[in-house]
């Protein structure tokens, strides 16, 4: 029996002498990955966030009154608390986008240079930098003051908020530096990672155009900031000649920064994901945009994927098929209102592209630059015409449709009503269909078209929001800095105008 005991003892001691250090290893996840793959994921995350319709993530298309809701109009009534939309936007852009751009930059900077031309690597890093600047500019344009110099660093768990204008100016200089580094003789991140332009050499020129279009917009954004007139001028005037310049003559041509999606989840178009895959019927076009498009006899209405609604004539007989929008801020009947055609064949497709910036936007910005008195080639009217023509053709209209459209007195630049702000603002608002943030920012800067505050709105938001309120999580996790930032921008309200938003009152709140 002693033998048995000895055997037992030996067994136990052998088994228990396994080295601890070899355990706990995570054998399933990655310790090192290609920086290009991190860039790929971050870029998809950015475009998904900017273009999704999901009421938890992005309400900008409701704010600019392109869309209304059917049964549950809470978000159209500016409820940003029940569903923490500001937090979800902030988290997505900082954590899933900017942090990963930072990491991609680090990985590529530290990656082996064997077989890599330093100029190619420099291009790759500059492209990531351009995307970072885009994401950062969205953050400032959406919230105002935000953590910047102390952001993206876990060792500073309470990052301070930087002044929005100071951040914006730094972004412009970063963008200038990135543009200077982009060398059109070299390629970029590779065709499987750069899903917008591919990574080949000729497309680097497109990257330069894209970066300059962004720069143009950032300059224009500062044009109402009196103290930064000089910066706005140089920024706009150096960017203008290098912005997108190939007109869009069909849905597939011209200059644009557009991401084409794939057929299968989770890589489907974010609008398709929300409107088709969800199987829900939550959104209809608003009467605000539908009435405007109807009044202008807009040739883009079918291209906007709008459905028609059958209206009865006075005798009660079925008669006409018309576009009829839903009331914004109120419950609407899906069937009785114009909504997105989600048919797989003729409507919204999984693979549909989203457009971050394009020739249309460049031309609207140039029209604005001309009106603001900056030195750019062409006239406000010519850029306006180019922008509208480009937009009509992108949404499936013909060149003739565009000409006819522009010939209407209500559209023609010379005869359309209002100031240049109203003319450009109204057409840009139509031209930025589906592009929530771009449309919202354009409306806030130009203050046109005049929108209507939701007749029923939540108690703490009294008009169409002109910024996202700060994330509620910041109140609990970064309270002191949050409080200071809220005071600095003039109160953490959705109605607080940001530093670049200096135009006239832009919505009618008398609606009852």
């Amino acid at each position: 029996m002693r033998k048995l005991l000895i055997i037992l003892l030996v067994c136990i001691s052998v088994a228990s002498c396994e080295k601890q250090d070899t355990l706990n290893a995570n054998l399933k996840d990655f310790t090192l990955v290609p920086g290009e793959g991190v860039y790929n994921g971050a870029t998809r995350a950015l475009l998904n966030q900017l273009f999704t319709f999901n009421v938890n993530n992005n309400n900008t298309l409701l704010f600019v009154q392109h869309f209304a809701e059917t049964t549950y109009p809470d978000e159209s009534r500016y409820d940003m608390v029940t569903r923490p939309i500001p937090a979800n936007h902030m988290n997505a852009v900082y954590r899933t986008v900017l942090m990963n751009y930072k990491e991609a930059t680090r990985l590529l900077t530290e990656a082996s240079m064997v077989g890599i031309d330093p100029k190619l690597r420099q291009n790759q890093l500059a492209m990531i930098e351009v995307m970072s600047v885009y994401a950062w500019s969205n953050i400032v344009e959406t919230f105002g003051d935000m953590p910047y110099t102390e952001a993206l660093d876990y060792t500073k768990p309470n990052p301070k908020y930087d002044n929005g204008l100071v951040i914006y100016k730094d972004l412009i200089s970063r963008l200038n530096a990135a543009i200077a580094k982009l060398d059109p003789a070299f390629g970029g991140l590779g065709s499987t990672y750069d899903n917008v332009y591919g990574g080949d050499v000729p497309r680097t020129a497109k990257w330069i155009r894209f970066a300059n279009t962004l720069k143009l917009r950032m300059g224009i954004m500062l044009s109402d900031v009196a103290a930064e007139a000089a910066l706005a001028k140089t920024t706009i005037e150096t960017a203008a000649p290098l912005a997108f310049n190939v007109p869009i003559t069909s849905p597939t041509t011209g200059d644009k920064f557009a991401l084409t999606y794939l057929d299968a989840s989770p890589n489907t178009n974010p609008v398709y994901t929300e409107l088709v895959l969800s199987g829900r019927s939550d959104f209809v076009a608003t009467s605000v945009i539908v009435n405007k498009a109807n009044a202008l006899n807009d040739p883009r209405r079918a291209g906007f994927l709008w459905t028609k609604v059958q209206l009865k004539d006075i005798a009660g007989n079925d008669s006409v098929l018309v576009y009829k929008g839903g009331a914004q801020g109120m419950p609407n009947s899906y069937n009785a209102s114009t909504h997105i055609n989600i048919s797989k064949t003729t409507g919204l497709k999984a693979t549909r592209e989203v457009v971050l910036m394009d020739y249309t936007e460049a031309e609207f910005l140039l029209a604005e630059a001309a009106e603001r008195g900056y030195t750019v080639s062409g006239t406000a009217a010519s850029h306006y015409n180019n922008a509208v023509t480009s937009s009509v053709q992108y949404w499936g209209g013909s060149a003739a449709d565009a000409t006819a459209y522009l010939a209407q007195p209500a559209v023609a630049y010379t005869t359309a009503t209002g100031t240049w702000r109203e003319k450009i603002g109204t057409q840009a608002w139509l031209g930025y269909y589906f592009r929530g943030f771009t449309a919202w920012t354009s409306w806030r800067r130009l203050d046109y078209p005049r929108l209507i505050a939701s007749p029923k709105h939540v108690a703490d938001v009294n008009g169409v929001p002109v910024r996202y309120s700060y994330a509620i999580s910041e109140q609990t996790l970064n309270g002191a800095n949050y409080t200071a930032a809220a005071a600095a921008i003039g109160g953490d309200k959705a109605e607080t105008r940001l530093f670049w938003d200096k135009g006239p009152e832009n919505y009618d709140s008398s609606y009852k």
């Binding site: 998809r44 029940t82 899903n195 299968a264 999580s473």
Partner: protein
């Protein structure tokens, strides 16, 4: 099922052997040693045989005994059992003495070491196995509620769902706060749910409560349960026991009682719904959100022709796209609806009268029942003992198409190999199979629909008929086009019979141990134990269902199949040297030197189809429409090695001093910090031994100090990237939580004092424990502002303090000859406080719920406070209402609006014994604690509840339009209602008079009130258990060859005497774990009634 019939045949064979020659008479009297009175009903049995009788009214007995009879066993409830040698006697008079309650009770302590309870310097409380197995539920822990002080047991209503068990409050900010289950000295796995940690299911996302793994322990095999509450009691178990330990001793073949014994136990239980835990619906208004329908969007009904088209003559149609009951008033006029649409429908093209449904949602539920059958055989010889048992448990749930089956086999054996060497072995195999667990949370949960989004005109039995007829997903909730899948809610019968989950688990728990007596004061002990299981969970969505979050990508999928494979194994190797030596006549020293090693592996593999199923009805990964999204793989292996020593010094059974010291060496900590040490000291002084007073049967004070170290979780040190489904090229991303390569061990320090006294020959006794526990340097993912690029970062920081008092009181108010009343009271209160978190951080987010409510650990507050929007109050504490619109002025979402920890808990157990009949009942009380209820948040707004459809203060229907206004005064016929509170203008408060318009769904619930309005007191008083049992007289059962027979009837959760949460059980939740205090779409509670027969052969 072959095994059962085999056992039964065996059983019959044994029964035949009970034939003995009876040769001589033996008679006598049984009296009480206290007062000399005779004891009727005492059992008198010849040991080792089935021969026996009971004493008559005069305490006399007489029986015939065979020549081989050597010993007589006498037993009576409340008296100490005796064994008396028969010898040549023909008359034996026996004096029985009252049983000394608990004093000499032997309990099983850490590492499976048996100790006299009186010698312990810490609190522990035992419950007998019979007390646990009386009520059959899928989880034996449910039966412990109210029976032990200091334990919070939250049984939820999910079929086979997990039970939350927390001892003396939550001590860990991030790690599990569940107790450790130890069976016969071996810790066993208690993985909760599918994912561990906080999964989307925990916070109301789509998913199932897959139960907790400790529910594999078979209640019928439990001999006793001992609850070790404080750190001092559990220090030798190391880190995993910081949440307390439930020590389970399984039934063994007893060496004391030679010979074969067979026990058969059969139980049948059925359940009925406790209607106070399910909605009561208003019966005045039907479907809709207001008058938004018809061609002009101003009517309560849609207009269509009888087949749904828009041509010809148009009639009223139910607004079927809506899932609320804020529509037209029931008036019986003919209305077309979902039943009119489908060509196969018996009501195709036909209207029905507009009225409240005859068969409401409650008729959807079925009558659950459970059968449990156990057979066990034990045998013992001089050389050892063995017990075999088999249990078959089969339950049918509340939901259609739901069932849970378990088969459990257990072998326990002990064998004296030599004089010095003893071996024991235990092997337990369990197989569990579940079909159709109920989906929990917000989406795809039928009960959420019934509680939040429902049309009161929908007759559930009509939905059943049409599903039975067509086997298609024809729902009450058609989309706008009246074709394709429903808009928000599938037909519930479709969901149950097509979109059901299945899961199964095979588990083996076993150990083998040897004890070698080296000398008479020193022995060596070695044990190897294994706990392993493999589990598969399969989730389905049939083609034809509406899209919902599903699968690995958690995106909207219209159909699909998911499988999750889980394998777990843990090996524990223990080696101990035990010594036990008397030092002189007064002192005794016991000691242990031990080493332990555990290695735990947990691996999961989850894969699902993507983009739907290609061919309907085939649930396989190959049937994916699109290429699969990357499966989720995890494979964690951790190891902990421990060395420990313990010494117990005692003086004259009066003074006991114990000390332990343990070192752990954990693989989950960085090499520099992976060894850590912790001590404990306990002392007990039995002052009754010194005082020697008659009135004082027993008196003890105890005091202890203990520290317990805790290791990090798996993979919290090094940063890793995650891979996403390739987007043309591969996709990688940083994780959202930043790891930390400098982690060190956590530590929990506790001090505890206690006083235990018994009086009047043990008829009155109490036990009080007071403790304070501080858990420091906690390893937690501190929530970061996500502007840092991370949502959280693992750090060592933070401290939680728990302070509490536990009292248990045992009384025998009445003890007569044949009647006895036992009364046990338990009371415990725990105050829990988050002392600190990481510098600069004052809040740790534990979970986010729908509606903007969060569960948090905030400095200065208890662990688990709910935050959300609150009312604002004036100086007098009145709610401030905006005079312009009648709505309460809300705070932002950072207000503390509730605390999920109860103020105190208590249990009152009464047991009455008259001869062989025992009646007992248990009242279980929880005072305070908060629960946030999403059902009322939405369901009020949807107009489901009677509150939204009654009369207002003016006696008018509240849903009528408002006439007039607050300044001019309201018309006598005005509808609407006002919220009690004040309007504040220029610092002056005046009573609020402004009415809220309740003509549409905007008038109630979340549209009006802050989150605080939906936080309810989770307290309750429940009649938890009522049982009656009758032990048949031995004289009677002996005639049919039995040694004993017990019949019993048990009612469980019989009556919720008091609660504050409307229409739901405050205990019902999503799953066990650190995220509590959220009630959403839970199943109603049931009252369970069981009948039990136990036969001993």
């Amino acid at each position: 099922m072959k095994k059962i019939s085999l056992l039964l045949a065996f059983l019959g064979f044994i029964g035949l052997q009970v034939v003995f020659a009876q040769t001589r008479n033996l008679s006598g009297t049984v009296t009480s040693g206290d007062d000399g009175s005779s004891i009727p009903g005492a059992s008198v049995i010849v040991k080792g045989t089935t021969l026996g009788t009971v004493t008559d009214m005069d305490g006399k007995f007489s029986l015939k005994i065979p020549p081989t009879a050597k010993t007589l066993m006498i037993a009576f409830v409340g008296m100490a059992s005796q064994e008396i040698a028969i010898g040549n006697q023909t008359t034996i008079n026996i004096k029985m003495t009252a049983e000394r309650l608990d004093v000499d009770e032997v309990v099983v302590t850490a590492l499976g070491i048996s100790r006299e309870k009186k010698s312990l310097g810490y609190a522990s409380q035992s419950v007998k196995g019979d007390n646990i197995s009386a009520v059959k539920t899928s989880n034996f822990m449910n039966s412990l509620s109210g029976k032990v002080s200091g334990v919070q047991i939250k049984k939820n209503t999910n079929m086979g769902g997990s039970t939350n068990v927390v001892l003396r409050g939550s001590k860990s900010l991030n790690n599990s706060n569940q107790v450790l289950y130890v069976v016969d000295g071996v810790p066993i796995n208690n993985q909760i749910g599918s994912a561990g940690g906080v999964s989307p299911q925990n916070t109301g996302g789509v998913g199932y409560d897959y139960g907790n793994a400790a529910s594999d322990i078979n209640a019928d095999d439990i001999e006793s349960v001992n609850v070790l509450k404080g750190s001092a009691a559990t220090a030798l178990y190391g880190s995993r026991a910081s949440g307390g330990v439930i020590m389970i001793v399984t039934k063994k073949g007893s060496t004391g009682k030679k010979g074969m014994g067979i026990t058969v136990n059969s139980n049948y239980s059925f359940s009925t719904i406790d209607k106070s835990t399910f909605p009561t619906y208003q019966d005045k208004y039907g479907a809709g959100y207001g008058a938004y329908y018809g061609p002009d969007e101003d009517a309560f009904f849609e207009k269509r022709n009888p087949t749904g088209g828009s041509t010809g003559t148009l009639f009223d149609w139910v607004p079927m796209t809506e899932d609320a009951s804020y529509g037209g008033k029931f008036d019986g006029h003919p209305v077309y609806g979902w039943y009119s649409v489908d060509k196969e429908s018996p009501w195709y093209g036909q209207p029905k009268p507009w009225q409240a449904a005859k068969n409401g949602p409650i008729t959807f539920f079925e009558k659950p029942y459970t059968t449990t059958n156990t057979i066990s055989i034990d045998n013992a010889t001089d050389k050892g003992s063995v017990r075999l048992s088999y249990t078959n448990y089969d339950t049918k749930g509340l939901m259609p198409n739901s069932s849970l089956k378990k088969n459990n086999f257990l072998v326990n054996g002990a064998w004296s190999l030599t004089e010095r060497l003893n071996a024991t072995v235990s092997a337990n195999y369990t197989r569990q199979e579940a079909v159709g667990r109920n989906s929990t949370g917000y989406n795809d949960n039928i009960v959420s629909g019934m509680r939040q989004w429902w049309e009161t005109n929908t007759d559930i039995q009509d939905l059943k008929s049409i599903y039975d007829l067509t086997k298609r997903n024809i729902s009450w909730n058609y989309g706008p086009s009246l074709s394709g899948v429903p808009i928000y809610w599938d037909n519930p019968y479709w969901t149950r019979f097509q979109n059901y989950e299945t899961d199964s688990r095979n588990r083996f728990i076993g150990n083998m141990a040897f004890t070698y007596k080296i000398t008479n004061w020193l022995e060596a002990f070695g044990r190897v134990s294994a706990d392993s299981y493999s589990e598969i969970q399969e989730e389905r969505r049939a083609v034809g269902s509406l899209a919902t979050t599903f699968g690995v990508s958690r995106t909207n999928q219209k159909s699909g199949y998911l499988r999750r494979d889980i394998t777990f194994s843990e090996y524990n190797y223990d080696f101990m040297l035990n010594f036990n030596k008397d030092l002189g006549s007064d002192f005794n020293l016991k000691g242990i030197l031990g080493s332990t090693y555990r290695k735990t592996k947990y691996a999961t593999y989850t894969a699902s189809t993507n983009g739907g199923l290609n061919v309907p009805g085939i649930y396989s990964l190959q049937n994916s429409t699109s290429a699969l999204v990357f499966p989720i793989e995890s494979n964690s292996i951790i190891g902990v090695r421990g060395l420990y020593a313990s010494a117990s010094l005692s003086y004259k059974s009066m003074l006991y001093l114990d000390a332990t010291y343990r070192q752990d060496y954990a693989s989950t900590l960085p090499v520099a910090n992976n060894k850590y040490y912790y001590p404990s000291v306990t002392g007990a002084f039995i002052f009754s031994e010194m005082l020697k007073q008659d009135w004082l049967s027993f008196g003890k004070v105890r005091l202890n100090y203990a520290q317990v170290g805790n290791l990090a979780g798996y993979d919290q040190l090094l940063d890793k990237y995650t891979a996403g489904t390739p987007f043309n090229g591969p996709i990688y991303a940083l994780p959202s939580v930043k790891n930390n390569a400098d982690l060190k061990s956590e530590s929990t320090t506790s001090i505890e004092g206690g006083l235990e006294m018994k009086f009047l020959k043990n008829r009155v006794g109490f036990d009080i424990a007071v403790y304070k526990t501080n858990s420091k340097d906690q390893i937690m993912p501190v929530s970061l502002s996500q502007t840092t690029g991370y949502s959280a970062w693992y750090v060592n920081a933070g401290e939680i303090e728990n302070k509490g008092i536990e009292v248990s009181l045992n009384l025998v108010p009445v003890q007569l000859n044949s009647f006895r009343w036992d009364l046990n009271l338990n009371f415990s209160t725990n105050r829990n406080k988050v002392v600190s978190l990481y510098p600069g951080i004052d809040n740790l987010l534990l979970g986010s719920f729908q509606g903007g409510v969060t569960l948090n650990a905030q400095i200065g507050e208890p662990y688990g406070v709910l935050k959300g929007t609150n009312y604002t109050y004036d100086a007098n504490g009145e709610i401030i209402i905006n005079a312009a619109n009648g709505l309460p002025k809300k705070t932002n979402s950072a207000s503390v609006i509730g605390n999920v920890n109860p103020n105190w808990m208590g249990g009152i157990q009464n047991s009455f014994t008259y001869k062989n009949l025992t009646l007992s009942f248990l009242i279980d009380i929880q005072k305070g604690g908060s629960v946030y209820n999403l059902d009322m948040y939405y369901g009020m707004s949807s107009g489901l509840y009677p509150e939204t459809a009654g009369l207002n203060d003016l006696g008018n229907p509240v849903r009528d339009p408002i006439l007039g206004d607050a300044t001019a005064g309201y018309g006598a016929k005005s509808g609407g209602y006002f919220i009690p509170g004040v309007n504040v203008a220029n610092g002056v408060s005046t009573p609020n008079k402004t009415r809220i318009d309740a003509t549409t769904s905007d008038g109630w619930g979340y549209a009006v009130q802050p989150n605080k309005a939906f936080v309810y007191d989770a307290g309750y008083v429940k009649l938890r258990e009522v049982s009656i049992s009758y032990t048949l007289p031995v004289s009677l059962v002996a005639k049919v060859g039995l040694k004993g027979a017990v019949l019993s009837a048990v009612g469980s959760n019989v009556w919720i005497i008091s609660k504050h949460l409307p229409y739901a059980d405050p205990e019902s939740g999503l799953a066990a774990g650190n995220v509590q205090g959220y009630s959403i779409g839970s199943l109603p509670s049931t009252r369970d009634f069981g009948f039990n027969i136990k036969l001993n052969f």
